[in-house]
């Protein structure tokens, strides 16, 4: 169930004041500032916003900032007041419980007596080191926790070049390494020139790396992902030759041949933006169950007709070209919110914190209607629930199988994801 925080909560049918059984259960708050040119003033506004927020034994912060923010300076000011870890990333725009935010800095602080956090960042990830970097970081962070890791929460900066480590590769590795521990997060974004995206951990700012927080203790993550497209523009093609996130052949055709058959122009190489409204639907089998997810294409290689996608493209999976319908995009967020509220209400757990990650293509499709959309669904947010989200170049959230409803960690595109903890 969702509880009213910070001053009251429902637990087992009784109203408690401030605490349950004498202990603070996890709660959180989000504060936003539009000031990005004076970090002292920005932090002051942020600090002011948290003035009534009481910290418990364990805390952690999350920061989403537009790419122009002098993050090191911002954190320098922030660290004067709070000594716990902050993780975060750049984003083109943000969402909070107040609605859509075009820019600025959003800060969430999560705190609790029975929740534990440990956070860290990798070095720059390459094909050679990413496994080592990621597993080392996971080992170190998990060793700092006394109990079982319940959530891997993190952000990457991963699409700088065709050789970047894909979000899917990171998810696959951590999923396997953590034995299927739930994951949530996204890929840092910028003003769509792909050069300004970064990730943060405390005072450190990095590109093409991964910042991660492991959370243990009294949380019960509930999640939902909604693919933002429904219409299909093409028949279904089977991937017959691929390597990780690169697709070479669909049946007897190269990827570019397929795109041309379906009426697309393939002149450009850097095509991430070109296909935002017409992304791809990938259907694959996991443990004998069919799972469908959206995929974005980022590069086309004219030499061999292959394409690089922002996620793993296994052989045997099927690919269709979708079309983002504005009405469907708008309603998909409503559906996600309704689903999550219902899930939380049916649970005995006390929920206080909600994250979301929305594909930047939604921004493109909804355009000037995006503010109205945010206004609509933020009204549905139960009172006292903190909510913070960013627009990403890729989303990480478990996928429910169509047969059993079991969750599988997955990397998505063109998707809206939400998680309550």
């Amino acid at each position: 169930m969702f509880s009213v925080y910070p001053y009251t909560c429902f637990c087992n049918g009784y109203l408690y004041d401030k605490t349950c059984f004498g202990r603070w259960i996890m709660r959180s708050k989000v504060v936003h500032t539009d000031i990005i040119d004076d970090m002292e003033d920005a932090v002051e506004e942020i600090r002011e916003g948290f003035s009534d927020f009481v910290l418990c034994k364990n805390s952690m912060g999350v920061i989403f900032a537009e790419e122009d923010v002098e993050y090191e300076e911002f954190y320098g000011e922030l660290s004067k007041y709070w000594d716990f870890s902050f993780i975060g990333c750049t984003t083109m725009c943000m969402i909070s419980g107040e609605g859509f935010l075009h820019g600025g800095i959003s800060v969430m602080i999560m705190t609790g007596d029975d929740v534990n956090f440990s956070a860290g960042i990798t070095g720059r990830l390459t094909g050679e080191n990413y496994k080592q970097e990621l597993t080392d970081l996971y080992d170190r962070l998990s060793s700092e926790l006394d109990d079982e890791v319940k959530l891997i929460y993190g952000y990457s900066d991963a699409i700088k070049s065709p050789g970047s480590i894909s979000g899917q590769a990171i998810v696959n590795l951590l999923n396997e390494y953590s034995n299927g521990t739930l994951m949530f997060g996204g890929v840092a974004s910028d003003d769509m020139d792909y050069s300004g995206s970064k990730i943060f951990f405390n005072g450190s700012v990095k590109e093409e790396a991964f910042v991660m927080a492991l959370i243990s203790g009294n949380i019960e993550p509930k999640y939902v992902h909604v693919v933002s497209l429904d219409d299909r523009m093409s028949p279904s093609y089977t991937i017959t030759r691929s390597d990780d996130n690169v697709v070479y052949k669909l049946g007897d055709y190269t990827l570019t041949e397929v795109l041309e058959r379906e009426g697309f122009n393939t002149d450009k190489q850097d095509v991430l933006r070109e296909y935002l409204q017409t992304p791809f639907l990938l259907t694959r089998e996991v443990d004998g169950e069919k799972i469908t997810m959206a995929r974005s294409i980022s590069f086309i290689n004219h030499e061999d007709g292959s394409g690089v996608f922002l996620g793993e493209m296994p052989e045997g999976a099927t690919l269709e070209i979708g079309y983002m319908n504005r009405e469907y995009v708008r309603s998909s967020l409503d559906r996600a919110m309704n689903y999550l509220i219902k899930e939380a209400q049916e649970s005995d757990h006390e929920y206080s914190t909600t994250f979301c990650c929305s594909c930047i293509s939604r921004y493109l499709v909804l355009s000037n209607q995006i503010e109205g959309e945010a206004d609509g669904w933020t009204k549905k947010l139960p009172e006292g629930i903190s909510f913070m989200g960013m627009y990403s170049y890729g989303e990480v959230c478990p996928v429910r199988s169509d047969k059993t409803g079991k969750g599988y960690n997955a990397f998505h595109n063109i998707t809206f994801t939400m998680m309550a903890i």
Partner: protein, 782 residues
């Protein structure tokens, strides 16, 4: 410029750069949005093109005629197949053509007019359900299913019609073929059933003689087994005939007055023996308050109960079979009979209950897993009850037994209660167990029993078997009058059933008394199942001398006869006195006694019509020998629906049957002939089966003619050759009398089977005056 100014300028430049970048971003987003829009537009166009292509494909290749119109019924689009059959060209559509103009000449005028009415109604918002139009155009028959659907816009307006014509001609023809095949099957079943009835009747007739005349108990036992099996076979054939009637929708109800007690008595007589044979207890539970005189289809109700009782006896190994009849009042004039048959048999599983009523699902199959019987009995019962507006209920526990029940509303004709049937039944049952000895013998006494139920007649005949009384039996009041009229002896006693179809017992009595005049020595006794108090007085008041209730008690019957038969005619039965066998030929008759016993055959009348006993016997035999052929012809014309041929054949049957004294057959033939002349096919369809049934029955009884020839002396070859020569010479001169005379003489001798066949053929040709065939047949035989 101061340092502060420089710092401020730097901040300003940074801000401007940011703004500039955001403008670039927004421009890029706009470009992307434009690109996406253009792509979407392209996609939509492509989709439209594809959709158009698909639509055209459908219109070009569909085998259905599809017509789209606007809201003024102007044709806008038509599938290509239409133009293959139409005089119109595709180009005419684009020039503008109304729906009516387009279809004019393509449909029969009346069908088109109806179609246009429906189309306009659909345009006005009325729902038009798909319908089938059949007809003939330009010599070609067609069947079309037509669907008329409005095309509705998003705002609910009807913008035109989408009309689909599906060619059903082949399907309709296939259906017609299937129906014809089904009819042929039914006809075949009916025909075969008649064909099967004939030899069964023959078999039963012959067997009856064995039962009567066999002195060896083993032989009698075998014959009784044959009789039972034969009757079962006959009932199966009857079920098939009933089923074909159901299939043809010809099963009809013929309600009439009836006495419930009489019906119950018949049922008890019918089932009691079967139950006893299996060592079962047969119980009856009849509400004594049920009004005894009702109006309904007694025959069909009896058939239903009889089916249920037969089944219960068949599937009960030990224990009890029970018939229960109660009632409740529906209104002042009607009651609902509550009838049930229960048993302690093997019962049925829940999942099998629904299958009980499926045709061709044998109860054997359901109850024991093996097939047996026609599987039609319960289905027919269900159909009959449905026809009566009721239904059969089944309550069964597997391994414990079943109860079948139904209610049926009947009109009350007399509210007098039926009385305690059970007492009478039990008494009768108990008495049967006593050792029987006849109280008297009276071989000179003539008795007539009038009852419409064969079984009752047989019962009385059996009960009086050892008294030696001469018993005549008839099935109706009319026959009773004919019998009294035509006999040269007076009946000492006449038993008359009260409730009979046609002339009832009271009317029969009145007419017999009128016929007899004032000094009538005959004693008239009413036979009735009405067991209520005061019944005797009622019958005495009507003119009867006494009354005997059914089921008839043997001792009571004998005592009653002793009371009314003159003492001079009564003798004390001697222990060693020879048993008088019914059916034995009397001294004074040259006509075998068994012919007198044929129900429905008025021998005296036949003798009178034929001008003497000799002629009667000969004509009757001929009638028998040609009956098969005549029957086949009637059935053949019936199924060929050849009304003319049929009418001629029944006309012939009317005359020939009248001559031999088969009054019922003659009367029915006359009715059928009249129906044939009037073109009343319904009457013929409803009554042909009855005629064939009567003929089957008579044929089964006359089969004893074949037996009689065994007593004849063999003819020697020389004599026979002389006969053939005489026939040959007489035939050349077309001398009918001579050939007939020769044949009469030949028939006095026993022939070899080959010659028997030839003589029969000679007779057939003679009867048909086919002289050429006759000459051809005998020319080389002397």
């Amino acid at each position: 410029m101061s340092t502060e100014d420089i710092e401020a300028l730097k901040r300003e430049i940074k801000l401007l750069k940011r703004e500039n970048r955001k403008i670039i971003r927004d421009n890029e987003l706009l470009r992307l949005a434009n690109d996406q829009t253009a792509r979407a537009q392209e996609f939509i166009q492509k989709e439209n093109y594809r959709q158009n292509y698909y639509n055209n494909q459908i219109l070009r290749t569909t085998l259905n005629i599809i017509i789209l119109t606007d809201d003024h019924l102007n044709v806008k689009m038509v599938s290509n197949i239409f133009f293959r059959f139409s005089k119109h060209k595709e180009t005419e559509i684009s020039l503008g053509l109304t729906l009516e103009d387009m279809l004019k000449g393509e449909f029969p005028d009346d069908a088109l007019a109806d179609f246009m009415i429906r189309s306009r109604a659909a345009l006005a918002g009325e729902t038009i359900y798909p319908y089938v139009v059949g007809g003939s155009l330009n010599g070609n028959s067609f069947h079309m299913q037509i669907g008329i659907n409005p095309m509705i816009t998003d705002d609910g307006k009807i913008m035109g019609l989408n009309i689909v014509f599906v060619n059903m001609t082949e399907i309709a023809e296939a259906r017609e073929r299937a129906e014809a095949a089904n009819k042929a099957k039914s006809a075949f079943l009916a025909n075969m059933s008649h064909e099967i009835r004939t030899p069964i009747n023959t078999m039963l007739g012959m067997n009856e003689m064995i039962i009567r005349e066999a002195v060896n108990k083993d032989v009698q036992g075998y014959a009784e087994n044959i009789s039972r099996a034969g009757k079962t076979l006959l009932s199966l054939v009857d079920e098939i005939l009933d089923f074909t009637k159901v299939e043809k929708g010809k099963l009809e109800l013929y309600p009439s007055r009836y006495e419930l007690g009489s019906m119950i008595n018949d049922l008890i007589n019918m089932i009691q023996g079967k139950a006893e044979e299996k060592g079962l207890t047969f119980e009856v539970d009849i509400d004594p308050g049920i009004p005894h005189e009702l109006y309904g289809d007694e025959v069909r109700i009896k058939q239903c109960i009889s089916n249920l009782l037969d089944n219960s006896v068949k599937y009960t190994k030990q224990g009890t079979v029970k018939l229960g009849i109660g009632y409740h009042t529906v209104d002042e004039d009607h009651i609902s009979l509550e009838i049930y048959v229960s048993d302690t048999g093997i019962g049925m599983k829940q999942e099998d209950m629904e299958r009980v009523f499926s045709p061709f699902t044998s109860m054997d199959e359901i109850r024991t897993g093996s097939a047996g019987g026609s599987g039609l009995g319960m289905s027919i019962t269900k159909d009959i009850l449905e026809l009566m507006g009721t239904s059969l209920s089944v309550d069964s526990v597997y391994g414990k037994g079943s109860t079948f029940s139904f209610d049926v509303v009947q009109k009350i004709l007399s509210s007098d209660p039926i009385g305690r049937m059970i007492d009478k039944f039990s008494q009768s049952d108990a008495d049967k167990k006593k050792k029987y000895k006849a109280l008297f013998s009276a071989p000179d006494v003539h008795l007539l029993v009038v009852d419409d139920t064969d079984t009752n007649l047989l019962v009385i005949r059996g009960l009086l078997k050892n008294t030696g009384v001469q018993i005549d039996t008839v099935l109706s009041g009319e026959e009773a009058i004919a019998s009294v009229n035509n006999n040269d002896y007076k009946y000492d006693v006449i038993f008359i059933d009260h409730m009979m179809p046609g002339m009832d017992g009271i009317e029969t009595l009145e007419r017999l008394k009128r016929l007899a005049g004032d000094d009538d020595p005959t004693v008239y006794i009413a036979l009735t199942a009405n067991a209520i108090t005061g019944a005797r007085e009622k019958y005495l008041e009507k003119g009867f001398d006494d009354y005997l209730s059914k089921p008839v008690d043997g001792e009571a019957l004998e005592r009653m006869l002793m009371r009314y038969i003159p003492e001079s005619k009564q003798r004390t039965p001697a222990d060693d006195s020879p048993e008088i066998v019914p059916g034995e030929t009397t001294d004074k008759d040259i006509i075998p006694r068994w012919i007198y016993d044929i129900p429905g055959l008025d021998v005296e009348s036949g003798i009178k019509n034929c001008g003497g006993e000799d002629s009667f016997l000969r004509i009757l035999k001929t009638f028998y020998e040609t009956l098969d052929q005549k029957k086949r012809e009637i059935i053949g014309y019936f199924f060929q629906k050849d009304l003319k041929g049929y009418t001629i054949r029944v006309h012939a049957m009317k005359s020939s049957s009248r001559i031999i004294g088969a009054g019922k057959i003659s009367a029915l033939s006359e009715q059928l002939e009249a129906a044939g002349d009037a073109g009343d096919i319904t009457f013929i369809e409803n009554n042909n089966d009855a005629l064939i049934g009567l003929l089957d029955f008579l044929q089964g009884r006359l089969v004893l003619f074949d037996e009689v020839s065994d007593d004849l002396i063999s003819i020697d070859d020389k004599q026979l050759r002389e006969c053939y020569q005489c026939i040959y010479e007489s035939s050349q001169m077309m001398d009918f009398g001579m050939v007939e005379s020769i044949l009469d003489q030949v028939k006095e001798y026993k022939l070899k089977s080959a010659d028997e066949v030839i003589i029969k053929e000679v007779n057939d040709h003679l009867m048909q005056l086919d002289w050429d065939s006759l000459v051809e047949l005998v020319k080389d035989r002397f």
